[in-house]
């Protein structure tokens, strides 16, 4: 049984102009000890997927279909109180925006010790010692001296590391990490990634790693899901998705990555923009931008189809 199982999850935002479907039948699972990478167009629904899992969809957003199971137990239907107990203890969340996670009025030390003490019986002195330990592990220099500082006294990347420490300190079984390393330089990034990998190996922690950085995905994840306009466009082993992308959107994404090896006058880009939720095209949602579009793409919406080693929602793979 996978640790996390997401089946056909649909998320909707009722608005005055009608219902916006921001996630459309998203399905995937994560095993204990596994890191699943999630990439995709900005606005595709990556953060929403994470928010749906931890039960923190912002109103008026709601789960309109499907189910989410943690260790076999439905968690999308839980009441607020049991859900709150799962959050933090069994599912840790590293939010994309470090500032909203941190309370500007409390020192980072207080925020860490309080988080640990709500989940575990710990004396103040022990909690403080552990807090310094976590700050150290996420690479805050001089942790013992800076533990009593307030969030605004840290650089962007340092705040992000404090947020990571907050998510990890309760030692959850599943970590939903939304862009945990984007504000970090490559060396601190390497340190955080090593830490996440160690946790998956030693504690069997499962990680859903949302990031734009394909280098980070290549290095850490076993499988990767590519999202586009509220759906999973492709999912499969990292090496296959990177080397032989089966979905034209994945291929476009790979081609847009600037290279360190040679400088080009202009980066390759996928022209156009992702469709708005209230103006989705018929058929495949990528078809207006797709270089390989053909008749069927305009009329019928493809589901995930087997495409070599990966699965892709693209009619090019209709015959396996």
């Amino acid at each position: 049984m996978p640790l996390l199982d997401v089946r056909d999850v649909t998320v909707e935002f009722p608005t005055r102009r009608g219902v916006l479907r921001a996630l459309d039948k998203v399905s995937f699972s994560i095993e204990s000890g596994e890191i699943l990478g999630v990439v995709g167009e900005s606005g595709a629904g990556k953060s929403l997927t994470g928010a749906a899992i931890i039960g923190l969809l912002e109103r008026p957003g709601r789960i309109a279909g499907g189910e989410i199971r943690l260790n076999g137990e439905r968690i999308d239907t839980l009441a607020a109180e049991p859900l709150r107990r799962i959050r933090g203890r069994r599912i840790g969340m590293i939010f994309q925006d470090p500032l909203t996670t941190l309370n500007p009025l409390y020192t980072i030390g207080r925020q860490l010790t309080e988080t640990m003490q709500t989940h575990d019986r710990l004396s103040d002195a022990d909690a403080r010692r552990k807090a310094i330990g976590w700050l150290d592990r996420v690479g805050i220099p001089a942790a013992a001296q800076r533990i009593d500082a307030y969030p605004h006294e840290f650089s962007g990347g340092q705040r992000q590391r404090v947020v990571i420490a907050l998510a990890l300190c309760a030692e959850p079984a599943l970590i939903v990490a939304d862009e945990p390393t984007t504000a970090l330089d490559v060396s601190v990034q390497a340190q955080i990634i090593t830490l996440l990998k160690d946790l998956t190996r030693d504690q069997g922690t499962a990680v859903m790693l949302i990031t734009h950085d394909m280098g980070v995905i290549a290095e850490t994840a076993g499988r990767v899901a590519v999202m586009y306009a509220g759906r999973i466009a492709e999912i499969g082993p990292v090496a296959d998705v990177i080397r032989h992308p089966a979905h034209p959107y994945t291929a476009g994404l790979m081609a847009s990555i600037p290279s360190l090896e040679h400088r080009v006058p202009r980066l390759r880009q996928i022209d156009g923009a992702m469709p708005r939720l209230d103006a989705l095209p018929t058929g495949c949602r990528f078809h207006p931008r797709c270089p390989k579009v053909f008749a069927r793409c305009r009329d019928e919406q493809p589901d995930l189809l087997t495409a070599g080693a990966t699965r892709a929602a693209c009619w090019l793979h209709a015959d396996g």
């Binding site: 995709g40 595709a44 984007t182 490559v186 601190v188 290095e219 990292v238």
Partner: protein, 332 residues
């Protein structure tokens, strides 16, 4: 200094200090001294018009602080900054000059007013600097700006919280471009964007530079992005610039041991499943930086001189490098 009389921005010996002491009473009880954090330490560089100067370096090394200094959001504790040969403080006092510099902040959430509609956020600089007067002119400008960053006119109706992280970053880019600046400080402008939108934004920035001669101070942790954008590169370590010069030359032949280490730590797509070269040594404490060369505790080339004497910048090839080993030729 080269091209000093035509430079867009000149930063001369600038330092910036933060007081990070604990509250006074607590300090008295614990008999702690005041603690000063020197976020930027004696930094000098020049940005020529219509070029891109990129800053790279470890998280916390002082890049955002320097960025804020460069547009006048912080006053330097020491040193001087000139915008087109005018002291920055007096340039900021003149609306005509102030309009010409702008900044894209590292944190797109904190910098957008949650109670304003996106179209008003983007229109604000246009109205403030009277760049368009008739309402439909303003509207047209806003529409063009939103389209340039891959959003639509109808997105203008919405509020910031209705957008994803990357979409909000695009709103802040549109707002920064709205005042039609000549000098733009970009602090991690694309780190919240997926690579395909990133490619669109970087291509747009390049186009604007070629068409209108924009000058950029560009900060990013993504070294491939930096290599794509930068004409000149400054590598920072613990508040100081340790290497600066033509970007391509530094990427091809980094001289400072820290630059070399930084370029080694880049993840790449070929490394599927493999760990990258770990960076050795402890992160330095910015409140009590190591004496001598601040990098010495982590440097493979450190010797006694490095532990005692702060290295100054010297020419090494086409770059200025602050390293005793490079100066002495011990780096080969």
């Amino acid at each position: 200094m080269p091209m000093a009389d035509t430079a867009t921005l000149q930063v001369v010996g600038v330092s910036h200090m933060f007081d990070v002491s604990r509250p006074f009473l607590q300090r008295v009880f614990t008999r702690e001294p005041r603690r000063i954090l020197r976020a930027v330490d004696d930094v000098s560089f020049v940005i020529a018009p219509a070029t891109t100067f990129a800053l790279v370096g470890e998280s916390g090394c002082g890049k955002s602080t320097l960025a804020r200094l460069a547009v006048g959001l912080y006053e330097p504790s020491d040193g001087e900054i000139l915008f087109e040969n005018t002291a920055l403080s007096s340039a900021r006092a003149q609306p005509a000059l102030r309009r010409r510099m702008n900044m894209i902040f590292q944190d797109p959430y904190a910098s957008l007013n949650p109670r304003w509609r996106v179209r008003d956020i983007v229109a604000e600089p246009i109205r403030a600097f009277r760049l368009a007067n008739r309402p439909n002119e303003v509207e047209g400008r806003v529409g063009t700006l939103l389209a340039q960053v891959g959003l639509t006119v109808r997105d203008g109706e919405k509020y910031p919280h209705e957008f994803s992280g990357g979409q909000r970053q695009r709103i802040s880019i549109a707002r920064a471009l709205a005042s039609e600046p000549d000098f733009l400080v970009c602090d991690e402008p694309t780190s919240a964007l997926d690579v395909s939108v990133q490619a669109q934004v970087l291509n747009l920035m390049r186009d604007l530079q070629q068409r209108f001669g924009l000058t950029y101070l560009f900060i990013s942790h993504n070294l491939a992005v930096v290599r794509h954008m930068a004409d000149t590169l400054g590598v920072m370590y613990l508040g100081r610039i340790v290497e600066q010069g033509p970007a391509e030359a530094i990427f091809q032949r980094p001289r400072h041991p820290y630059t070399r280490l930084l370029l080694d730590a880049i993840p790449d797509l070929e490394q599927i499943g493999r760990a990258r070269t770990p960076v050795g040594g402890d992160l330095p404490n910015p409140i009590a930086p190591p004496p001598g060369c601040a990098f010495h505790p982590r440097c493979p080339l450190a010797n006694d001189r490095c532990r005692l004497e702060k290295p100054g910048q010297r020419m090494a090839g086409t770059a200025q490098v602050a390293c005793h080993a490079v100066e002495e030729g011990r780096d080969r």
